[in-house]
């Protein structure tokens, strides 16, 4: 999984700590999500997406192999 969270944070001038506060999670969770090392719950993904005003599927990018059953 890849994400464009870092780019969106830069666009909106948010730090990881700011995003963590807005999404209601720990700072390190945002770091793991941002680096694609942790798959967030649907709720957290939607919260992050709403923070940036972008659709979830444009923030969290999966390779075809990852989506294959």
């Amino acid at each position: 999984m890849r994400t464009i969270i870092k780019m969106l944070r830069a666009r909106d001038g948010l730090t990881q700590a700011d995003l963590a506060k807005k999404a209601g999670v720990r700072r390190e969770t945002i770091s793991f999500v941002e680096n694609g090392e942790y798959n967030p719950s649907l709720l957290l993904a939607v919260r992050i997406a709403r923070t940036f005003g972008e659709p979830v599927e444009e923030i969290f990018l999966y390779e075809d192999e990852e989506l294959a059953l």
Binding site: A20, K21, R26, E28, T29, F32
Partner: protein, 134 residues
């Protein structure tokens, strides 16, 4: 935080050495010394973690979220499963040594100390492992 960890480590070593000096260098003394050191370490880490959480909460951050719950759940599962195997192995060892084989026997205190130390150790090791994996 680093200072707190150093203080905890030094206190744990002093506590462990003191326990060994009081209970002797036999198996029970050494296991007790390790147990004292582990208890002090756990208490120190627990208090340190609580203080960190308090600071984080005061800054408006969450201290527990879905990821910490996931890590805790996975570590608990590993601790429970491996702990069960170790307890069973200890009990079967004791049973066999008691009835069939001329193996050295543990007393109940040693068995309890070893089993509990193993349970705690595997739980915390799993927590550290999953913190980097999850």
């Amino acid at each position: 935080m680093r200072t707190r960890n150093i203080i905890t480590g030094v206190t744990a070593v002093i506590g462990g050495v003191y326990a060994v000096s009081q209970l002797g260098t036999g198996m029970f003394g050494i296991i007790s010394g390790v147990n004292v050191a582990v208890i002090i370490t756990i208490a120190g880490l627990f208090i340190g973690k609580r203080l960190d959480w308090k600071e984080e909460e005061e800054m408006g951050f969450k201290v527990e979220d879905e990821r910490t719950q996931l890590i805790d759940g996975k570590a608990s599962k590993v601790g429970f499963k491996f702990g069960n195997y170790v307890w069973l192995a200890l009990i079967y060892y004791d049973f066999t040594a008691e009835r069939y084989m001329p193996w050295p026997k543990f007393n109940s205190q040693e068995m309890l100390l070893f089993g509990l130390l193993f349970n705690l150790g595997i739980y915390f090791a799993s927590m550290l492992y999953y913190r980097k994996q999850v």
